[in-house]
């Protein structure tokens, strides 16, 4: 047993469970491939993972890095822990939230927004595919505007009061 563990790197149950999953996966893949289009299916299966891991994720990480540089987020001193003072709000997250939400909506609905669905959509429903691009742009504009509004309010509220101590001085 110890020998198996040393050679294999884990207990026999680990091997057994993985073998079970590979068996189910083999059966499922065989069922899919029976219908043909083997290369196309494999390309989509591996392509989805490669596209996400090696293109999409590095791309949005780089965009976020660019955002951090342009807003100077990393150069700002870290906020003081447990400080009673209201910290000055940071611009970066007021850009991140609307940007991420807009990007997710585009990522999910790009066939409708960019018109890839238009042929099938018109064919199936009898109606032209229209309005999705406009709706998405309106949502983006709304998100960025709302975020800017919240940011402005937060900046104003975080300003030190213009009339501090002076008022509390007893007037002569």
């Amino acid at each position: 047993m110890a020998g198996f563990r040393r050679m294999y790197g884990s207990n026999p149950l680990h091997l057994l469970a993985h073998a079970g999953v590979f068996f189910i996966a083999g059966w499922a893949i065989n069922q899919i491939l029976r219908a043909g289009f083997v290369i196309n299916w494999i390309a989509w299966f591996l392509g989805a993972a490669l596209l996400h891991d090696l293109v999409l994720l590095p791309l949005y990480s780089l965009l976020d890095r660019g955002l951090m540089i342009t807003t100077g987020a990393r150069r700002e001193p870290p906020p003081v822990a447990d400080s009673a003072a209201r910290a000055r709000p940071r611009a970066i997250n007021h850009l991140r939230v609307p940007a991420v939400v807009s990007a997710i909506l585009l990522l999910v609905y790009f066939p409708l927004i960019l018109g890839y669905s238009s042929h099938n959509y018109r064919f199936d429903t009898g109606h032209a595919l229209a309005g999705y691009t406009r709706n998405w742009l309106l949502i983006c504009a709304g998100l960025f505007l709302f975020s800017a509004l919240v940011y402005t309010v937060r900046v104003i509220r975080s300003r030190p009061r213009a009339v501090p101590a002076a008022d509390e001085q007893p007037s002569d």
Binding site: M7, Y8, G9, S10, H14, L15, A17, H18, V21, F22, I24, A25, A28, I29, Q31, I32, R34, A35, F37, N40, W41, W44, F45, L46, A48, A49, H52, D53, L57, M68, R74, P78, P79, D82, S83, A87, I92, R96, V97, V100, V101, I104, L105, L107, V108, Y109, P111, L112, Y116, S117, N120, Y121, F123, D124, T125, G126, H127, G131, W136, I139
Partner: protein
């Protein structure tokens, strides 16, 4: 004679393993101060609940197509080699049961996408773990992870494109999505077992919710462990953990609002700005959503021909014109059309009960029903229904909707409408019905 003693060779030391190449293979490349076992555990736990719902509702939808009813008519994933339906709606389920189940499948699948992306982001350093292969256990674990990530993304991508009727691939969506789900479910079950101790340890060390209390100023990296997810050189945080989870939640909320209206209807339909079937075509009695318009399956001329007759076969065969069908006892029920793509719409349907038609041709209550559409092309032209559905009072051969004749797009001259059945099985432009004794 004694063999001469060979000189002992000096022990050869294996050359030291080369260090990881520069770039993402070096742990110091990854700087996010938020990555760590707690964050991944939280995202994974949320995702697991969502995917469990999506998997169960997906299997319910598979059995709602009744792939095991006669002749493989309904077996769209291929009749050979499939396992039987696992989870089914009860036969006396309310009429909205399939609409709810499939609406949940699509909606929860959509709102899981931001969580999935965040989960994959949180573990991306593991993709570049160095050395890439080690002991056999490590290697087959990585292979299982490839199956998990590959099938997971495959399921989400194919599902998302299918609801938008965009098919940039050559394989059959239904078959690939169904069997892809089995790879995903099995690989995920294994992943949960393998990672369960890690999750328990993360929750025990950090508290399940405690890290959410920390604002940006108090956001500290999780304790560093070599080979783990925590960066050895974390950067200054620019967002708190609760901020990151809030960001993910905002993405999910946006998808929820953008899509839910096509399943729920009412005022929500007006704000479902990106839902593929969220648009409102008009206020007329026939202006609700259509899956396949009459023109798209080239049935317009055939369906509007006044010589149309419905052939109903059982112990005897009759041929009925539309006025003859209208002269039979009519029943009205409020029933949904619920598409596998997740949208649904509930309308008032009027027509002849299927069991009245069965009685008309002398079929027994145990007979199942096969129907054929007059549409010359397209899938789902032939469908079979079990006896339990034929016997249901609410199962209709619908002739009218909302008090007026069916429009051509909604199946004029006659269509099937059955409670809690996937929309494509509510066959339109009916040509013949055959009650078959079991």
């Amino acid at each position: 004679m004694k063999a001469p003693r060979l000189p002992r060779l000096p022990a050869i030391k294996p050359p030291p393993l080369p260090g990881p190449p520069p770039g993402p293979f070096r742990p110091r490349f990854w700087r996010s101060p938020l990555r760590g076992p707690w964050l991944t555990s939280v995202l994974g736990s949320i995702l697991l609940v969502m995917i469990a719902v999506v998997a169960v509702t997906g299997l319910i939808s598979h059995s709602a197509y009744q792939p095991d009813v006669v002749k493989g008519y309904n077996a769209i994933v291929g009749p050979r080699g499939d396992i039987g339906p696992l989870i089914s709606l009860p036969s006396d389920a309310p009429s909205w049961a399939y609409a709810l189940s499939q609406g949940a499948h699509v909606t929860i699948g959509l709102i899981a996408i931001p969580v999935l992306l965040a989960k994959l982001w949180s573990v991306i350093p593991r993709l570049f773990a160095w050395p890439p292969v080690g002991k056999p256990a490590q290697s087959i674990e990585r292979l299982a992870i490839l199956l998990l990530v590959g099938s997971g993304l495959f399921e989400f991508v194919t599902g998302v494109l299918n609801i938008q009727v965009f098919y940039p691939w050559h394989f059959l969506f239904v078959r690939a999505h169904y069997y892809g789900a089995w790879i995903f479910i099995s690989a995920l079950a294994l992943h949960v077992c393998v990672k369960f101790p890690t999750v328990v340890r993360a929750y025990r060390d950090q508290g399940v919710l405690r890290p959410l209390k920390a604002d940006l100023a108090n956001t500290k990296p999780e304790p560093f462990r070599p080979g783990g997810l925590v960066s050895p050189s974390p950067a200054t945080p620019t967002i708190s953990r609760r901020g990151l989870l809030g960001l993910v939640g905002a993405g999910s909320l946006a998808l929820l609002i953008a899509n839910l209206g096509e399943s729920v209807g009412g005022p929500l339909r007006r704000i479902a700005l990106l839902a593929p079937r969220g648009r409102v075509w008009g206020t007329g009695p026939n202006d609700f959503q259509v899956n396949k318009a009459a023109d798209s399956v080239k049935v317009t001329a055939l369906a509007s021909d006044p010589r149309w007759r419905l052939t109903v076969a059982g112990a005897r065969t009759v041929s009925l014109s539309r006025p003859q069908l209208m002269a039979m006892t009519q029943h009205t029920y409020e029933l949904p059309i619920a598409c596998v793509e997740g949208w649904s719409t509930t309308q008032h349907w009027t027509g002849v009960r299927l069991r009245d038609l069965a009685a008309l041709v002398g079929a027994s209550p145990d007979a199942f029903l096969e129907v054929h559409s007059i549409q010359p092309k397209g899938p789902y032209r032939h469908t079979a229904y079990p006896a339990s559905q034929v016997r249901d009072d609410r199962s209709l051969l619908a002739l009218c909707v909302n008090g007026v004749d069916l429009s051509l797009d909604h199946g004029y001259p006659a269509r099937i409408i059955i409670p809690a059945l996937p929309g494509v099985h509510c066959t339109k432009w009916l040509g013949s019905m055959q009650f078959v004794e079991a």
